[in-house]
């Protein structure tokens, strides 16, 4: 929070990536950092609601063991109502994207755009290099 008690959007995004997608997988941080009606749109689907999002993350992290995401770059809008991160996520394939679990180290890059409301992350749109990773693993298993 700054002197006006307004959360810095970059701090929100970094906190989310470091705490939820860092090694500790601190899913309780979602309650602190996201609005109750948080939505995420990714891979052609939209997940609505903080609890549903938490479950989605939990499932994802089960399929990507030891997942770690690091933000390479964060950008805040001048108005402070948007924040963007360019990141890389790595982990061990435990059935990611519906593929056979083989324990191999995998990584994919992505860009997330969040809207900020009431000092929390309110909505997110993510594009990631999932198809490239999917094709590579699938090819190796064929």
């Amino acid at each position: 929070m700054n002197a006006n008690n307004i959360a810095d959007p970059v701090q929100l995004a970094l906190s989310f990536l470091e705490r939820v997608w860092g090694p500790s997988h601190d899913l309780n941080a979602i309650d602190e950092l996201m609005t109750e009606d948080y939505t995420i749109t990714t891979g052609g689907a939209t997940i609505t609601g903080r609890s549903e999002f938490k479950e989605w993350v939990r499932t994802f992290q089960q399929k990507l063991a030891d997942a770690i995401t690091v933000s390479h770059e964060t950008i805040r809008s001048e108005a402070g109502d948007r924040v963007i991160s360019r990141w890389i996520c790595s982990g061990k394939n435990n059935g990611i994207f519906g593929l056979p679990a083989d324990g191999r180290n995998v990584a994919f890059t992505g860009i997330a755009i969040w809207s900020v409301r009431d000092n929390r992350l309110a909505a997110c749109w993510v594009e990631r290099s999932a198809l490239e990773l999917y094709q590579k693993i699938k090819h190796d298993h064929s």
């Binding site: 701090q11 090694p23 690091v70 933000s71 770059e73 964060t74 950008i75």
Partner: protein, 148 residues
């Protein structure tokens, strides 16, 4: 684009600080403020690990570089930590290590894209508790697995 941010994560006892882009002296001062603010969030008598992520950092001129280069060593010295590469600089011999509010830094990971420099630092100054990386992911994984 510049990153000038620091974050204290109490549950991991980890402070992450990021400085990147072509930075000016005002940028460095802003980042420095974020670093101090994150340090202020650590409770008295605590211990912390630090990830100094300078991936993509480049000082815009010599003055900016001079303004930057003492911040991490001097700041960490206030928390009982002597950054390994200080051994290269004779003027750092007299640097006094103290423990502000009883807080101590116990491990450090440093990231920068300059492979030549990082490899040199790692070979000369890498220890069980301090490592130098060109890959932010590897640095994050390494510092995370260190038990405080």
């Amino acid at each position: 684009m510049k990153n000038l941010d620091s974050l204290w994560m109490a549950h991991e006892q980890l402070l992450v600080t990021k400085l990147s882009g072509d930075v000016t002296i005002p940028d460095i001062e802003k980042w420095e403020t974020s670093l101090y603010k994150a340090l202020d969030a650590i409770g008295d008598g605590g211990q912390f690990k630090i990830l100094v992520d300078l991936f993509g950092f480049s000082a815009i001129n010599v003055d900016a570089h001079k303004r930057y280069r003492e911040i991490i060593p001097r700041t960490l010295a206030d928390y009982g930590w002597r950054v390994g590469y200080l051994d290269m600089f004779q003027e750092a011999n007299g640097l006094l290590l103290t423990s502000k509010r009883g807080i101590r830094c116990v491990a450090a990971a440093h990231v920068h894209q300059d492979a030549t420099k990082i490899e040199k630092y790692q070979s000369l100054y890498g220890t069980e508790w301090e490592q130098f990386f060109t890959d932010p992911l590897q640095a994050r994984e390494w510092i995370a697995q260190l038990a405080v």
